[in-house]
Symmetry: C2
Subunit: 459 residues, 2 copies
Amino acid sequence: MQLYAERALLDTGWADGALIEIGDDGLISALTTGVSRPPEGCERVAGALLPGMPNLHSHAFQRALAGAAERRGAGEDTFWTWRTAMYRLVEEIDPDAMEGIAGQLFVEMLEAGYTSVGEFHYLHHDRDGRPYACLTETSERIIAAAERTGIALTLLPVLYTSSGFGGEAPAAGQRRFVNGGERYARLLDALFSRHARRPGLRIGAAAHSLRAVTPGELDGALRALRSLDAHAPIHMHVSEQVREVEDCVRWSGQRPVEWLLEHADVDARWCLVHATHLSASECDALARSGATVGLCPTTEANLGDGFFPAAAFLDAGGRFGIGSDSHVSVSPLEELRWLEYGQRLVHRRRALLASPGTPSVGRRLFEHAARHGADALALPAGALAAGRRADLVAVDTSLPALQCREDDGLLDALVFAGNVNPVRDVMVGGRWRVREGRHVERDPIRRRFAETLRTLGTL
Amino acid sequence: MQLYAERALLDTGWADGALIEIGDDGLISALTTGVSRPPEGCERVAGALLPGMPNLHSHAFQRALAGAAERRGAGEDTFWTWRTAMYRLVEEIDPDAMEGIAGQLFVEMLEAGYTSVGEFHYLHHDRDGRPYACLTETSERIIAAAERTGIALTLLPVLYTSSGFGGEAPAAGQRRFVNGGERYARLLDALFSRHARRPGLRIGAAAHSLRAVTPGELDGALRALRSLDAHAPIHMHVSEQVREVEDCVRWSGQRPVEWLLEHADVDARWCLVHATHLSASECDALARSGATVGLCPTTEANLGDGFFPAAAFLDAGGRFGIGSDSHVSVSPLEELRWLEYGQRLVHRRRALLASPGTPSVGRRLFEHAARHGADALALPAGALAAGRRADLVAVDTSLPALQCREDDGLLDALVFAGNVNPVRDVMVGGRWRVREGRHVERDPIRRRFAETLRTLGTL
């Protein structure tokens, strides 16, 4: 397949007349620029062509809670009271609901310009906390939703054993998440043996958080993963809440990131999600580790987490990608915009996340999050180059907010003046999944989601 | 004209079967609820009916800069370097450009669910700083754009005389803004005599800021305004930047809000825009004054202003409305969402702007901003009730993010899970201006905007 774009943001920068050859494997096999006229029969992309954005942190089922937990309660409302509402939803989800919600969510992601997703998947068991007849039942539903919608998936089955630091027994509301080390290893085995070679699907592993696994369990899970795939990604929530940091210090004498950097082999295969509360030395050390930080600005704002020190982290050479996490918003542009805005509000300055080499804030944010998001998902995506996946987005440059903006100026307008969704067409792994702003299967998937929501009742 | 809605948010709360009678004057003449079947020939509104949102603070021409000032410069990027870029745009605007940009902007506002706008209008003169042959030339262009698009307008011509506290002479870049007291009074006179009785149009006044007018000039402008209309609104930028607060203290020994509350007749006719940096006593006193605070969360974030103490201000009984100000975003839902999110990030809690009486954050924010925004514009709008303007919005409750959400739950989903624009139909003063998400004159207005942008070049 051949694609031609008049203007495209490639690995090497902006280019005119890009001719993109895409193999049957969904990878870009060749890229030529400066082509003034596309060959006969070649498809022409309208607008500007950009790499699709990886969404590195998702709990798909939580989409059903979006907007339904925004009420003042009797006491103080916090992350922890939100978690109680989320656990109530957990009680209601069955495998069909999981698939119905994930399908709708993935359509929304694709229509917003996300082309891959890291599913941090911890809802493994039935309502009584017993494994389904098929141990990977709910994982299979996530995979089915990704296949149907066409989004590339890095599935990160989650190890979850405890409710607090030091191996505290899990609470009743967590029973659907819990696997001991041995069963977790079997879960990984089953997923790798069934799905390791499927195109557009990658298997990794996750530990929920330092409060939910013991050091020995973390070690065991990492060994199990490495024996299956030495390069597989490992994700973990860390330092999202101040209470979590305090509990960790009480348990170990160290802060979570400090502990992890000393006790685990944190390197470029790792993605630390949130990492909101960092000391200056943790921030520097994390940047040096090569790990990606998974930032989820809309969820972190919704949950009142606090501000990640993004400017200092980038200045120290750190890497981040973005995730929509709880999916209260599903928009890479809102994530990027408010990541920068948070820094502006805290520091009372502007253009904080640009760099001397890339003065355009839009370009820096978009390109950085695309590349490192893909790294965190261990997918060859996040940039348009030969050998990488044909995951790409065409934006409508005739929109009033984008017209007369060019190249980096277009990316600035896209990120900052972008509250009308500018995504027109989206390709994942060489196949068009969104055309003229609509996912090709939008309607039937939406109907199924509506049925699912009805079974869940008004939350 | 009669309208029927199955579910509507009225002045008195949510109601089933609302039958709304609208007079030729564009006001709601009667409202009946509990009507199970609409009368023959009555128009039926699909979805849920809400009051339209007033946008209480706009500089229309700045829409042309949206997304075009997001680059790191050689030095430190701040509000003040942004202002330099904005002044460069000012040099380029002629009356035709003013009308072309305002037309496009007002279409975007209506499509996003804003039904009225307070135009804080300071670009009065030609490129050499000389008044146009018609003193109200640029004001007339704003009025023409509002009439064409149908948005209700409160025009706030701005008094601007100085570049710093204590009457410092204006800078070259400010020459198009400057009117002495006498000419400002003539400008007000001309606007009132021509437009005071036009439906959907209200004239008020504004002083740019305490740094841009002297106490004597402020007094004079207020006297001129009161002689024309004792109830007309008065708007003023205040305490947006820390440097402005420091300069004010140096000049007067008082902070800007403190000074204003002591030296001006600040009451319910006033709207203080931004008021970002408040001491605790200023916050309380401002809440007691009855003035509205004009909050512009997306612009305040874009410019790195800082965080308005919204939770404390509401707890003290304060009132706010919202504005899109520089129009980097044009979305009442993004403004409301990030107003709450800013408070969550600062306080690390959730649901901060709800109240014990209105636990739904979405309901509280939407209703409060609609009512007090209308008060700040001195328009009888902001709620659906007999005697008020028929400014209303129908939202598409079949969207995945809104389905199965009801009443306050719908407003929570609208504000927080609302990054797909849910506005379907918009009526202003009894006339439909947006149908199925499109402004009825979208295309010709968009073409004119495109021509305008081309004359401005790539900014």
